[in-house]
């Protein structure tokens, strides 16, 4: 993984790596914590036609992925759990990827666009930000809801810019971030990891896995169940309430639901918290990866 810190030295347009680093620095300056680059071709091995960078931008060469941290460490520590439920975050990675795309078009004259990431059909995103992050060397998939974990920061939020500009790609991480050593030890002793213990699939939770020789040999994630918890308030919650409302014949009963706190919170979620809120973050709360960074004064 290549990270950029501080000022990038003078850019020689002929030096691809220097240009790539300068573009990464643009993303960092715009608010991303990390920026990585994946080759557009690298997606072909993992996703079908329709979900590849080339499908959105013909001639795509590179995908520049911006990562940010989401809620602050203080938000993680808050005794009011509902704060994390609605805090969302500031979408800095989206800002960074848009700034990167603008920079590439204006400075280098190549086509560049903010990658479409919100699901347009079922739960499938047009371009997977999780895959983009893995291919850009920013993290690997975890047992915990397949969330991509960065070895330094743990959970991060990703956005990407697709461009026709050829850039120096980063390598995928050579070692899986998950399971962490402490999780392997816990699994050996108790048959589960912290995330599996807090949300066990066979006991009403979402996560299960097997680990052998420190490697994940199988994993199970109940996405539907997880999404009803992680996104309890929001578009899906609202659709469900509208469905219920259309089935109620009694006017007073309808009013009760329409003006309930639940209904209001769904609307607030749609309007304010956007897509990424942390209405259930329990698997990440117990995940040791990057947790030491959350300990402050």
């Amino acid at each position: 993984m290549t990270t950029v810190e501080g000022e990038v030295e003078a850019t020689d347009p002929g030096d691809l790596e220097v240009v790539t680093n300068a573009i990464k620095q643009v993303g960092i300056t715009a608010g991303a914590t990390l920026v990585g680059v994946a080759s557009a071709d690298a997606f072909n091995e993992y996703v079908p036609v329709g979900h590849r960078p080339e499908d959105f931008l013909p001639g795509a060469q590179s995908v520049v992925v911006a990562a940010s941290l989401g809620p602050t460490n203080a938000a993680w520590q808050s005794p009011n759990r509902r704060l994390m439920e609605i805090t969302g975050y500031d979408f800095r990675e989206n800002v960074a990827s848009i700034v990167i795309a603008e920079h590439i078009e204006r400075t280098h004259g190549y086509l560049a666009m903010h990658a479409p990431a919100l699901p347009t059909s079922g739960q499938q995103p047009p371009l997977s930000m999780m895959l983009s992050a893995v291919l850009a060397g920013l993290g690997t998939r975890s047992i915990a809801a397949n969330i991509i974990l960065n070895p330094t920061y743990g959970i991060m939020f990703f956005a990407a810019a697709i461009t026709t500009m050829r850039l120096t790609p980063d390598h995928q991480l050579e070692e899986n971030v998950c399971p962490a050593r402490s999780c392997v030890r816990m699994y050996e002793m108790e048959g589960k990891t912290p995330c599996m213990a807090v949300c066990p699939a066979d006991e009403g939770g979402c996560i299960d896995a097997t680990i052998e020789d420190g490697e994940i040999t199988s994993s199970f994630f109940d996405r539907e169940r997880c999404s009803t918890r992680a996104m309890n308030f929001g578009i899906r919650g609202h659709i469900k309430q509208v469905e219920i409302l259309t089935g109620i014949n009694d006017r007073d009963e309808r009013r009760e639901l329409l003006y309930s706190d639940d209904f209001r919170r769904n609307m607030s979620s749609i309007g304010r918290y956007k897509e990424s809120v942390s209405q259930c973050f329990e698997c990440m709360r117990v995940c040791p990866v990057g947790r030491y960074r959350r300990k402050l004064k």
Binding site: L69, S78, I86, D261, G271
Partner: protein, 286 residues
């Protein structure tokens, strides 16, 4: 991480950063002043060991928006979200740079539509404004501003409340003495279908009346409450064609636009602030 922390320099650095990024007002309050609030609304309910409360004010509608002859401009242009982004950014800066916890208090509401923190009380405690007859906290120079509050364990020197209240302004006292009302009360009189009432004695507000429900209905006309009302009407309507007219009508569509795009604070009624003299000089341009 710094070895020896100079709290005064750190404070001025943080506030300067906030100002550069758009805050008109940036001050620090003592969170202990809010600890007598009801449980759930105290700063320590959100962040254990909170030491400072940074209050930023800004992102008020621009001068041109106030001047626009089209009322829809103010009704649909939300600017408050800029303060949320700024607050998040300042909180992240504090954690990354100084290693102390910091969180931007959500401007959205908690369960039962309750605020997470009383932003007005926080602003008053920090001196980022003073209470007004119209309701919003007013900064003496800028008048009405949107607020964001950052709670942190960083022990910054406190600014404290303003010595002089911005409201009532001298013009308002004069008007009160002559007519028994102020510009804000005159434009929205509580006894005549409006939301505001009060009394002034020797230049000080001694009594205030405010119809919060009525005000909310007007300020957030097209927002969630409007959506609920329109949806209720549609569901109650037995005639399919009329139901369709409600659902595809402008009002219903505007509520959806308002909820998803315009941000929460859109000033769908801003008449008390339009009439308020505090900060009006900021709205006069060429």
């Amino acid at each position: 991480m710094m070895d020896e922390l100079d709290w005064v320099s750190i404070k001025s650095g943080i506030l300067e950063m906030a100002r550069k990024r758009g805050a008109e007002v940036a001050r620090v309050g003592d969170p202990a002043l809010l600890e007598d609030a009801e449980p759930g609304l105290r700063p320590s309910d959100l962040l254990t060991d909170v030491k400072s409360m940074i209050v930023l004010g800004g992102a008020a509608p621009r001068a041109a928006e106030w001047q626009s002859p089209r009322v829809e401009v103010m009704e649909t242009v939300g600017t408050a979200d800029r303060m949320v982004a700024l607050g998040s950014s300042v909180a992240r800066h504090i954690e990354d740079t100084y290693g102390y916890y910091a969180l931007n208090v959500p401007t959205a509401t908690d369960q039962d539509d309750k605020a997470f923190l009383d932003f007005k009380a926080a602003a008053i405690a920090a001196g980022a404004g003073s209470p007004s007859l119209a309701g919003p906290v007013l900064d003496p120079t800028y008048g009405f501003l949107y607020l964001t509050v950052i709670l942190t364990t960083l022990p910054l020197p406190v600014d404290g409340p303003l010595q002089e209240a911005a409201c009532p302004a001298p013009q308002c006292v004069e008007m009160w003495d002559e007519k028994g009302t102020t510009p804000c009360m005159a434009v929205c009189p509580i006894d005549d279908g409006g939301c505001l009432g009060g009394e002034i004695q020797e230049g000080l507000v001694i009594k205030r009346r405010y119809d919060a429900d009525r005000c909310r209905d007007r300020v957030y006309h097209y927002w969630t409450p409007g959506y609920q009302a329109a949806l209720e009407r549609a569901l109650d309507e037995p005639d399919a064609r009329k139901r369709k007219m409600i659902l595809y009508g402008s009002f219903f569509t505007r509520t959806m636009w308002s909820i998803t795009y315009s941000g929460v604070s859109q000033g769908q009624c801003f008449e008390c602030i339009r009439a308020c003299p505090v900060g009006t000089e900021q709205r006069v341009l060429i």
